[in-house]
Each structure stands twice: as C-alpha cells, then as structure tokens.
C-alpha cells in the first residue's frame, strides 16, 4: 500500500477538478445547437423543425392566411404542424426593401423551448410554405446564450421543465 504525500493528494484533487470543471462550466455558459433543431412552440407544445440561421437578424415563423387587424396578427400554422389558428398582438413591424418590392411583416412575441431553455422571443410572420423549415431561429433569439455548431444537427432536443410536446 502506497501512502500518498499530502501535496500529491492536493495535486490530484486539483487535476480532477480541472478536468471536470472545464466541461461543466462550459456547458453552463452556452447551449450548443446544431444547424437544425426541433423547437417547441409554447404553451401549446407544438414541435417545429427550425433552421438555425446566424445570417438572419430576426427569427421568422411560417404564418398562413395572415391578417393584421386591430393591432393583432391572425394566422394559421402549416397543416403538417396541426394548422392551429393563432391571434397574437403585433409588437412591431419589419420593413423589407429590395430592388423588386417593399414588404412589411408583423412582428409578434412567442414562447419557445430550445434545448433546455424556455425563452420569449420576437419573430416576424410570413408565408414560408416554399421553404423547408417553418421556423427560422435568427440572431435575436440566438443571443440568449446559444452557440451554433454546424457539425451537428438536432443535438439539443427540447427539454424544458414542465413542458410536454404534442
């Protein structure tokens, strides 16, 4: 039986702590998401596949039959995601100007569950039926301490406390 000198025990303790802590601290700071993630729309728990897009300033949600009236946006989700009718207050407008046309889109606030985190975030509403993902997670949402790793896809499934998916 080898008796360890106190300073070796101290050093070993330090080494163990260092190995363990570097990973734990890292995970606590930032949530790593892949290029595509399943995200829950709360409080309904509707699962939407989302493109994680650092090139987009603002997140964007697929809204069908969109109507703006009395400060509210009325729209439906895509059929393959349940087609639910939603009515949300418009908090702002997004003005898009290109050489071809100018467009304005209502901005609303929604609750999302991304990985372990529940966040309230702004999204602009537009018809995304021609694109693959009904939800685009842009920089305004990713600023809530997410980092993007394009080597991965669906590495952070939604797991918010007290939330179940439908």
């Amino acid at each position: 039986m080898v008796v360890m000198k106190p300073r070796w025990i101290f050093l070993l303790f330090f080494v163990t702590f260092y190995w363990g802590a570097s990973d734990v601290l890292h995970a606590g700071e930032k949530i790593v998401v892949g290029e595509v993630e399943d995200v829950l729309l709360l409080p309904w728990g509707i699962k939407l596949p989302a493109r994680i897009d650092t090139g987009a300033a603002l997140s964007s949600l697929d809204a069908r039959d969109l109507k703006a009236e009395d400060g509210f946006a009325k729209f439906k989700l895509g059929k393959q995601y349940g087609g639910m009718q939603l009515r949300l207050p418009i908090v702002d407008w997004l003005y898009i100007r290109s050489s071809e046309a100018s467009e304005q889109r209502p901005i609303v606030e929604i609750d999302l569950c991304i990985g372990p985190k529940r966040i309230r975030t702004r999204v602009n509403l537009n018809d995304r039926s021609k694109v693959r993902y009904p939800l685009l997670i842009g920089r305004n949402t990713l600023k809530e301490n997410f980092v993007v790793d394009c080597m991965q896809e669906r590495c952070s499934p939604p797991a918010c406390p007290e939330v179940s998916s439908k």
């Binding site: 650092t54 090139g55 394009c150």
Partner: protein, 173 residues
C-alpha cells in the same frame, strides 16, 4: 522520477485546453477572412443559414470553363480569373438562376480551408463574402453575441502550387 511525474502532471493540466483549441474555433457574426494566395482581406458574414459560401463578384464573364470577375471597388476592383468547378442552381426571391462555383483557399483565424465558393453580384448586401455551412463544418462554432473574434493569420502559400490563373499578390516585403 520526480521530474517525470512533474512533466506528466504538467501535460495533463495543459491537455484539455490545448485539445479544445485544436478542435474548434469560435467565430462571431462577422469575421475578417483572407482569400489565398492573393492576400485579399474581406469582411464576411458568418451564416449558418447558407448551405454554401458565396462571394460578391462584379462584371462576371464566362468563357467556356473559366470565369472572370472583379471584387467590389472597396477592394480595389481586383480582377480574378478562375476555373469553374461546377454550377449551382439557386432559387431566390428573384427567381431561378445559375451561379458559377470556384475553389478558393480561405484563411479564417489560424485555419486555411479550401472551399467551394459560388459567385454572384451581391451589390445590394452589406458583406462581400458569406461564409456558409460548407466551411463552418470545418470545426467552427458561431457565437452571435460576438463579432470579429479572429484575426486571419495563415502562411501565404507558394504561388506555383496553386492551380489558379490570376496573378497573386506579391509577397509582403
């Protein structure tokens, strides 16, 4: 014996940091990137929403399997002449289109990456270069809370090994 143990401990202590640094480089939303071997430094948008990387190419001219273009005036309108590797079909707000794709060496941080780059006139957008997922897959992590995190530092490769047709910059004196 004691020295060996010390050396071992020292290595163990340093290893996690070193391995992590090798593994991935964190980028912000905007980074400086150098096109090699020309040494042209551009500001690039780091875009996980883009499948491929694309460069703002003005006065595009196609001659058989070779493409000629210029960088925007801010980059002294530098002319390029490169072989076309393939064509990329795009569906954008303006409709269907076809863009020539070339191979380029990009220096991002300390890493040099040979990447497919598609060429189109991007005069209406802010950044002349979009770094898409084909490049970001080379162990880059994107943190949108940050910008201009890296300084491109790559050795400029010898000219004769590059299968490019345009004249590279002379090596800095």
């Amino acid at each position: 014996m004691r020295h060996a143990l010390c050396a071992l401990l020292f290595f163990i202590l340093l290893a996690p940091g070193v391995i992590r640094a090798e593994k991935e480089i964190t980028l912000g939303t905007v980074e400086e990137v150098i096109l090699l071997p020309w040494g042209v430094k551009l500001l690039a948008r780091i875009d996980t929403g883009a499948t491929t990387t694309s460069l703002d190419a003005r006065e595009l001219k196609i001659e058989g399997k070779v493409v000629e273009f210029r960088l925007p005036d801010r980059y002294e309108g530098r002319p390029f002449r490169l072989p076309i590797i393939e064509w990329k079909e795009v569906l954008s707000a303006e409709g269907r289109g076809r863009r020539p794709v070339v191979d380029m060496d990009l220096c991002i941080g300390s890493r040099q990456i040979r990447a497919r780059v598609n060429l189109n006139d991007r005069s209406e957008v802010k950044y002349p270069l979009i770094i898409g997922r084909n490049v970001l897959k080379h162990h880059f992590i994107v943190d949108v809370r940050r910008a201009r995190v890296t300084e491109p530092e790559c050795p400029i490769p010898p000219v004769d090994k590059k299968p490019v047709l345009s004249e590279p910059l002379p090596a800095p004196q």
